[in-house]
Each structure stands twice: as structure tokens, then as C-alpha cells.
């Protein structure tokens, strides 16, 4: 079983080289040409190892490009073209993952993390600020305080070394 699926997969892979596929199309409108590139770049070749249909040499990618050209010339919108392809090949061919209930996390987690993270950092810093204000001590006062703290720590945990006292710049 494993061997047979490997043979099948190997067959699929044989046609997936990484070389750009260059065909000439006659576009009746220049905007179609640009959209061809854009939409082609967002559609995934169903049988290649991660290539868009614009970049793949495989026969199925070629078929999809031909259809893309036909649909553009028929005046279809980008969304209609995507729907056409998804109807046949599934959501897999969209490099832009669709917004479904189970991709919600994909889209919203990073911005949520940024927001939460910045908020957390803000509150963390604010709470610290109110509990410490050593800025106004004099140099000798500070030295004394440092010595005291070091002594306390040394008594509590003798393995602490005292090698971090010099502040370099």
C-alpha cells in the first residue's frame, strides 16, 4: 500500500519542477493581464509541492491557467474566479485562507496577542513604577543599599556570585 502511494506521489512530483511556466495570452484588456498575474499567484497548484499555478509546469496548473484566462475574458470578478476554482478543487487551492469559523483563530490571534501584550507591558511597568523610586538617592546611599541587599541575598542563597556589580556602557 505504502509503495503504491509512493509511486503515485512520485508520478505527481515528476511534473512539479520549480521552473516558471511562460505562455503567451492575448488579453483584450490590459487590466486582465495584471489580474491574471495576481489571481494566478494566489491560486495554489493542486498537485505540486507548494507552487502557485502561475509558477508551476504541471499539466493541471496549465489547465487552470487556461480556465483563468477564459474566465477573465468573460468578465468574471476575482471572487467569482476563486469560487469557480474552489468549487472544483476545494479550499486547498486558495493561498489566501478563507474566513471560516475554524480559521478565525488564524486571522485574529496575532493582532490579539499584540494588543494584549502591549496592554500587559503597560500595566506591568505602571505597577512597578509605583513600588520603586530609587532615582533620587545619592550615590553613597545607593552603594549602601546595594551592599545591604547583596548581604541579604548571600545569606539566603550562598551560590549567588557577586560578579554583576559593574555597569558597563
Amino acid at each position: 500500500m505504502a509503495k503504491k502511494s509512493i509511486i503515485f506521489l512520485l508520478f505527481l512530483l515528476l511534473s512539479a519542477t520549480s521552473q516558471a511556466a511562460i505562455e503567451l495570452y492575448d488579453f483584450s484588456d490590459d487590466s486582465y493581464r495584471l489580474r491574471y498575474k495576481e489571481v494566478g499567484g494566489q491560486l495554489r497548484c493542486p498537485k505540486c509541492e507548494n507552487q502557485s499555478i502561475a509558477d508551476s509546469n504541471s499539466p493541471s496548473a496549465y489547465d487552470m491557467r487556461q480556465e483563468l484566462y477564459r474566465l477573465l475574458e468573460e468578465g468574471k470578478t476575482d471572487q467569482q474566479i476563486f469560487d469557480f476554482m474552489v468549487q472544483r478543487f476545494g479550499d486547498y487551492v486558495l493561498y489566501n485562507p478563507p474566513m471560516r469559523s475554524d480559521t478565525w483563530l488564524l486571522w485574529y490571534l496575532p493582532p490579539a496577542l499584540v494588543f494584549l501584550g502591549l496592554l500587559l507591558a503597560f500595566f506591568l511597568v505602571r505597577s512597578r513604577k509605583s513600588s520603586h523610586s530609587t532615582a533620587k538617592m545619592s550615590l553613597s546611599e545607593r552603594q549602601l543599599r546595594i551592599q545591604k541587599i547583596l548581604e541579604l541575598e548571600k545569606n539566603a542563597d550562598p551560590t549567588l556570585s557577586s560578579s554583576n556589580t559593574k555597569e558597563s556602557k
Binding site: Q19, A20, I22, E23, D91, Y95, L106, V114, S162
Partner: protein
């Protein structure tokens, strides 16, 4: 011929290296628990032995490639007698087993370098080497038991090899893997320092100071390695792209992002003694991401053109390795990080907090890339079907994150540690802000093609913001008695690092917004025009290379003023052994733009379908990365890291504290 027995020596050396790695890992560990300092002393010589043995093993594997020893399965699968000698050598790391050996050799190399450190207390060095030893042991077990490069195919030795994948027969691909591995593996050093610190409980900022040069060098290597990969993809693959958010590319970007955060976090921890637990976590994270990437590329779990041949058995072993290494270190972290409350304070507007925000964004960017890369796998595992997550997703999220990062990147260097008055900061940045908004957002976007585009404006604003603030910082640094010559190398390094980043943004902005691509029919002596440039196909020739046959086009390029600027010679090759077609792109390159011609299909005897790309400012992408990496190198050479100074400091510490 005696040469035929060499691979067995190579395999034997590998096994011995495994033994040495075990000594290097376990003896200091045991010695630490049983308080026997003599056992700690085994770490250094074991590290040297391991390095020597791995070097021997690697050289022997290389020799079997050079001497066309096809009785070795690995050589037969990746080489060919017609292959030029330098590609025979680079073929050593062209596939799974050999590249693993290279990875191990590089790890042993870094370990060796660390073992030469002066200025580290002996117990610290021993612990660091021990952790590195454990990593080595894991990877050596993997190689010896599942991925032995010295396996033979006997008795039927193939007459010739299957040739190196033509895509890899390129100078860029000679250097890309070694540089990448130097980066990935280099982060193991900081990882080892972090674990050693957690192990001993000594979490003062000396640990941060020791780790910094190692981290920055690993970062610099990774930066160059990634840039080289991007550059290679651009000129070799024929599609004119330089980044595809492919899982393997993402595997290299994730440790780079957290590695950048780590570099910055170490700076804060060293100078201010704060955020220690964050820095430790970042050190563990970064190397863990290196390993996760390692797993993703070699296990067959994800679809990628780059991926090595897949074998689920190996994948399982790798997963165990990953689980043990990362799981154990995160467990140690959770158990051993003490409840440190730093005795130092900082206010909201301070370099400390800005760096924290900076690191937050970098880490979240890395998480975002990981999420996007793994999401199809997650949904599939949950039975929700197959989806794809590609460039549209990553670009949509990465760009805003980088814009936000840029704000902090500009403000950070100009803000004081601990606390700064807004008035004082305002004075420093108002000019930069004005220039940025006026030139960057309003004026410059019009220059290129007479139209204003939002993304161009945002990109140029970011570039100018970083330029102006970095120059301002440099100017501030020069206002001392020593003037410009007195600026410390680490300050200068930061300047170039940020400048490099800004140049990358410049390249990306210009090429993404103003780049153009045309597929055209080129017929002999019939010029075609793209962006004002004229392309005339003059001749089509057929030629033969060492291991390929090719069709070559001679194309003359005239600039808009009509002057002949170059004659390009793109090729379409067929590599005969594997039967693989490949395009060799021809590029007319410059600092302001690249013109790129690729051959498509033959239409008639004197006409071909060709693709022409126009790529403004694309070189700045890779130049920027190079400059940033050089900034890193500059920072490491700062005199405070000199081993002489470190030795003095160590002596002072040993004498009873400063």
C-alpha cells in the same frame, strides 16, 4: 584501492564522536551533582576530540564524493562522475544524511570555539559544554541509527551516480546551507549558556554578557544565510520572486525573528539586570525554533519544494529528539527560574520598555509565522479538511507588524535607559519626525511614477524614520571629547544593523509596488519594449555543457535613450542524467533596478516565448541584509568583549568581587 575502505573509517569516527559527546555531556553533569571538579574538566578535551573526529568523518565523506565512490548509497544518489569537482564537494551537503553531518560538524565547531573561551569560570564553561554535548548526543544518535551517510550499496555498485539535483548546481547553493547552519547551530551556544545558568542557579547578568558575542555572531550568519537563499531563489528559479513564505523559508525566519529579539534582550539584561526570565526564555525559544524548523524540513509533515526526502520513521525519531530537547529545557526553565524581582526600576518612557515592546512584536511575528505554517496541519489533524496558508496571509499580517516595529526601532536608540522626560525625547526626534512625514509620506512617493500609493508611502516613511533617527543617534554619540572616532563599535554596529534593516524595507517597498513582469514573444531582429527598454533577440544557439545541453538566446538590451546597455544570454538547459529542464536567467543588474530575462518555450525556429522582469531597487534587499550582518560583526569586535579584558575581569572576580 585503499580508498574503498575510507568510508568505514568515517563511520567509525562518527561512532567515536558519539562516545566523546557522551563523555562531554554526562561527565560534567555527574561531576556537578557529586561535587567532583575533576569530572568537570573532561568537558573541554571531550569537545576537542568530538570536533576532530567529526572533521575526520566529514573529510572522508567528501573524499568519497571526490573519488566517485558510488558504492556509498549517499554518493550514488547525489553525485555523478560528470559533475564539476566543486559541485561534487557541495553535493556532500546536498541531501539529508550529508547535511546532517555538516550540522554536527558545525555544532562541534562552535563547541570547540566556546571551549577556548578565556574569562569564563571553569564550572560555567563545563556546564555550557555539557549542554552542548547533550545536543550533540541526540543528533549523533539520530545520524548513527537512522541517517548514516556511510551506508554502502553492495554488491551491485552502480556504474554512475544519480547526479546532484540541477537546482543545487549553483555557487549560491554551495554557501547557503553552511551559512544557515552556522546560524541555526550558533544559537545552541546561547541556549547552552541559558541552561547552564538555570542549572547552577547563577542568574546574574554576567551570563548575559558572556552570551552576547555568541548570539550576535549566530544572528549575523543566519541573516546572511537567509539573504543568500533569497538571492539564489531570485536568480535561479526564473520566477523573479525572492520570498514565498514556503514552510522551509519560514523555518529559517522564525529563529531569526526571535534571535533578533534575543540579541536585544541580552543587551537589556546585561546593562540593567532586568527581564532576565524573558531573556532566558528567548534563548530557549530561539534554538527550539531552529530544531522545530529542522523537524519540519525533514519529516515530510509539510508540503514544500525545498523539503528533503520524507521518511516517517526518521520523522518520529526527530520528533522525540525535539520533544526531549525543547521539553526538558522548558521544564528546567519553569522549575528553576527564581522569583526574581529586579532591584532596578524603569518608567514607561525608557529604553528598557521600548526594547520590551520591540521584542514583544518580534516574538509575536515569529508566533504568527509559526501559526500560519502549522495551521493547515492543525486543521487537517482536527478533521476540518485541507486549507492552504500562503503569501497573502503572511504579507497581510507581517507588514503591519513590521511597521509597528519600525516605530520602536527608531525611538529606542534615542531614549535613555530607565527614564526619560517626554520633552527631552521630543527635542531629539522632532526633526526626524518632520523629515519623515514630509519627505517619506508626502513627497517621495510621487517621485517614481507620479502617483501616490499608500504602501509606498508607508514603506518610505518607515525607511526615512529609521534613517533619520539612526543618524541622529550617531551624531549624539559623536558629541564627546573623542568625537566621531570615539564612537564605540557596538554603537556603530547598532547603527549599521538598523540601517541595513531600513535598506531591506526600501528594497521590498520598491520592488513589490513598482516591479513589473511581461511574457512576450521574441522573434529574431524584432524588438519588443518593456518599461521603455528595448529587447531584441539576435540569435538562438544550441550548446553543450559538462552535464547538460542547452538552448541559448542572445538578447540585446537598449535603454530608453536608445543606447545598447548590455547583451544578455539566458539559457534553457536540460540536465541529461535526471532529465530535468532548468532555466538560466540573465540579469542586467544595477543599484536602481534589475532587468531580468528568462526563456520560456520555443514557438518557432526563430521565436521564443520569453519573460522579462523589471525589478527596481531589488538589490537593496540583500545589500541591506549584508550591511545589517556586518553591523553585527562590528558589534562583536567591541573592545569590551576582548578576551584580555575578560581575563582581567575574571581575575578580579576571583579575587573577591568588585
Amino acid at each position: 584501492m585503499e580508498v574503498l575502505y575510507l568510508p568505514e573509517f568515517g563511520q567509525f569516527a562518527l561512532i567515536l564522536a558519539l562516545a566523546m559527546a557522551c563523555v562531554q555531556a554526562f561527565l560534567p553533569l555527574i561531576g556537578s551533582f557529586t561535587r567532583q571538579p575533576l569530572w568537570l574538566a573532561y568537558a573541554q578535551p571531550a569537545a576537542w576530540a568530538q570536533f576532530t573526529l567529526l572533521a575526520i568523518s566529514f573529510v572522508l565523506l567528501s573524499l568519497s564524493f571526490l573519488f566517485d565512490d558510488f558504492s556509498l548509497a549517499y554518493t550514488a544518489a547525489n553525485s555523478n562522475s560528470a559533475l564539476p569537482w566543486f559541485y561534487k564537494l557541495s553535493a556532500v551537503w546536498g541531501a539529508h544524511e550529508g547535511s546532517l553531518l555538516l550540522w554536527l560538524l558545525i555544532l562541534a565547531g562552535w563547541t570547540f570555539a566556546v571551549s577556548l573561551s578565556r574569562g569564563l569560570p571553569a564550572e560555567v564553561l563545563a556546564r555550557v559544554l555539557s549542554v552542548l554535548g547533550f545536543v550533540s548526543v541526540g543528533m549523533l544518535l539520530f545520524v548513527v541509527f537512522t541517517s548514516n551517510p556511510f551506508d554502502r550499496i553492495l554488491p551491485r555498485i552502480p556504474v554512475d551516480g544519480a547526479d546532484l539535483n540541477p537546482l543545487l548546481q549553483d555557487p549560491g547553493l554551495i554557501f547557503h546551507p553552511p551559512l544557515l547552519y552556522m546560524g541555526y547551530v550558533g544559537f545552541a551556544v546561547t541556549f547552552a549558556f541559558a541552561l547552564a545558568a538555570l542549572w547552577s542557579g547563577q542568574l546574574d547578568s554576567a551570563w548575559a554578557r558572556w552570551s552576547r558575542p555568541w548570539t550576535t555572531s549566530a544572528w549575523a550568519f543566519l541573516t546572511v544565510g537567509i539573504a543568500l537563499g533569497s538571492w539564489w531563489a531570485y536568480y535561479e528559479l526564473g520566477w523573479g520572486g525572492w520570498w514565498f513564505w514556503d514552510p522551509v523559508e519560514n523555518a529559517s525566519l522564525m529563529p531569526w525573528l526571535t534571535g533578533t529579539a534575543l540579541m536585544h534582550s541580552l543587551a537589556i539584561t546585561e546593562k540593567r539586570g532586568v527581564f532576565k526570565s524573558w531573556t532566558l526564555l528567548l534563548a530557549i525559544f530561539t534554538f527550539s525554533l531552529s530544531l522545530v524548523g529542522f523537524f519540519l524540513v525533514r519529516s515530510g509533515v509539510l508540503n514544500s519544494v525545498h523539503a528533503f526526502a520524507n521518511d516517517p520513521e526518521r520523522g518520529f525519531f526527530l520528533l522525540i529528539l525535539l520533544a526531549v530537547t525543547v521539553g526538558a529545557s522548558l521544564l528546567v526553565y519553569a522549575l528553576r527560574v527564581p522569583n526574581l524581582k529586579a532591584r532596578v526600576s524603569y518608567s514607561l518612557l525608557s529604553k528598557d520598555v521600548l526594547l520590551l515592546a520591540n521584542n514583544l512584536i518580534l516574538v509575536i511575528s515569529s508566533i504568527m509565522v509559526l501559526l500560519g505554517t502549522l495551521y493547515p496541519l492543525i486543521l487537517d489533524a482536527l478533521g476540518s479538511g485541507k486549507i492552504s496558508v500562503g503569501p497573502p496571509y503572511f504579507n497581510a499580517l507581517f507588514v503591519p507588524l513590521m511597521l509597528l516595529l519600525g516605530v520602536f526601532m527608531g525611538l529606542g536608540p534615542l531614549t535613555d535607559w530607565k527614564q526619560m522626560q517626554w520633552q527631552k525625547l521630543k527635542k531629539k526626534i522632532w526633526l526626524a519626525g518632520v523629515i519623515t512625514l514630509v519627505l517619506g509620506f508626502a513627497v517621495l512617493p510621487w517621485v517614481y511614477d507620479g502617483e501616490w500609493h499608500l504602501y509606498v508611502a508607508l514603506g518610505l516613511t518607515l525607511v526615512l524614520w529609521i534613517f533619520t533617527t539612526s543618524f541622529r543617534d550617531l551624531w549624539e554619540a559623536s558629541r564627546t571629547k573623542k568625537g566621531w572616532l570615539g564612537i564605540s563599535r557596538s554603537r556603530l554596529g547598532m547603527f549599521f544593523g538598523h540601517l541595513g534593516a531600513a535598506l531591506i524595507v526600501l528594497g521590498v517597498t520598491m520592488v513589490s509596488n513598482y516591479g513589473e513582469e511581461r511574457d512576450l514573444r521574441m522573434q529574431i531582429d524584432q524588438p519588443v519594449e518593456v518599461k521603455g527598454y528595448q529587447f531584441t533577440l539576435k540569435k538562438l544557439i544550441h550548446r553543450e555543457g559538462p552535464n547538460y545541453i542547452a538552448d541559448r538566446a542572445i538578447v540585446e538590451v537598449h535603454n530608453p535613450k536608445g543606447r545598447l546597455i548590455n547583451t544578455l544570454t539566458p539559457e534553457k538547459r536540460l540536465y541529461t542524467v535526471r532529465g530535468m529542464p532548468m532555466t538560466q536567467v540573465a540579469i542586467e543588474w544595477g543599484f536602481l533596478k534589475d532587468i531580468y530575462v528568462a526563456m520560456g518555450e520555443e514557438l518557432t525556429a526563430d521565436a521564443w516565448a520569453m519573460r522579462v522582469h523589471y525589478k527596481p531597487f531589488v538589490r537593496w534587499l540583500w545589500l541591506g541584509a549584508l550591511i545589517a550582518a556586518l553591523g553585527g560583526v562590528l558589534a562583536i569586535t567591541d573592545r569590551r568583549y576582548s578576551s584580555k579584558k575578560a581575563q582581567e575581569q575574571l581575575t578580579a572576580i576571583n579575587k573577591g568581587g568588585v
